[in-house]
Symmetry: D3
Subunit: 69 residues, 6 copies
């Protein structure tokens, strides 16, 4: 019954369905292996955040990407 929230920037059109599935399965498996949590009640929510809305080092990710970071 764990709850996991993953926030990543939305880049190049956003994550593919397969990438999201891989994250959901990977986190659920990790919680089962590490803490024996029941996958059936493990909830995972992925938030894709606009690069203008995500800041690191006092800058927007969109600006960091323009510098190749």
């Amino acid at each position: 019954m764990p709850y996991v929230n993953i926030k990543v920037t939305k880049e190049n059109g956003g994550l593919t369905k397969e990438e999201k599935q891989k994250l959901i399965k990977g986190v659920t498996d990790l919680l089962q292996e590490t803490l024996h949590k029941n996958p059936a009640s493990t909830v995972v929510v992925i938030d894709e955040v606009d690069m203008d809305n995500y800041g690191l080092g006092a800058e927007q990710i969109s600006d960091r990407r323009k510098r190749g970071e």
Copy 2:
């Protein structure tokens, strides 16, 4: 002054305005009845999440819905 965040999947075009209003009022009333919290400063935020971005039982809800779950 409580803060409540509700995350649900976005299905069939998403929640109607009335459904959102019902959730906001229902949660605010519940906090007033149960804990005597002041509705005037009770904040409720509803996040509608894409079915590909919401996982349960290591699967995306979109896939579970295809199986009628």
Copy 3:
């Protein structure tokens, strides 16, 4: 499979077990009645926040309480 997070201040020793149960049941019932969501996979997490850590109107709730607010 909705996820609900409720943040309230921790006052007078915190919520009783019964108050928490009432909030969990009340929110789960509301989601079932409003959106026909399955209670079995509805997750509710209650965070009790120290009054010094909760701000409203640029003030800590602890200070507002000292003024009887």
Copy 4:
């Protein structure tokens, strides 16, 4: 390495890039000045929420705005 999440309603087309940058820089500077936190690992995420999805005083912000509030 602090993490800050800011939720505001999406009004008049949403925040401008400059407003988002100002929030990101302002919060990062505040954490550096107050707690000497390293800007390089300070993460800020801004969520812009639909006015129908944001409730205060048991009402949707969209309805409060119609009354000029």
Copy 5:
């Protein structure tokens, strides 16, 4: 620069340091493998929630555990 929040119930005294480390490393590796995200700016926060404060199926986890669930 992804941000991940994991909420689990606090049981049997809570997670060990090693379990927390395993979750932090496991999620960071998953994001690197799946989305090529830089571990150096991947933030993971683990919240351990009291079993009375965590609800599933309209019940507190503490009560479900008493029934062996």
Copy 6:
């Protein structure tokens, strides 16, 4: 009516009351100056997270601190 959540590690006994007040006031003022938001309904919640529970670069902050980082 914005909502802001600040997560920082709990170090050296945690933040002082004054530091928390400074963060609450600083963020509320920033939202008023930048977006003309009403302080009276601006909610700020500060979460102090155990250093074992906070990960950056696939490591727990507690371990990074032992290396003087």
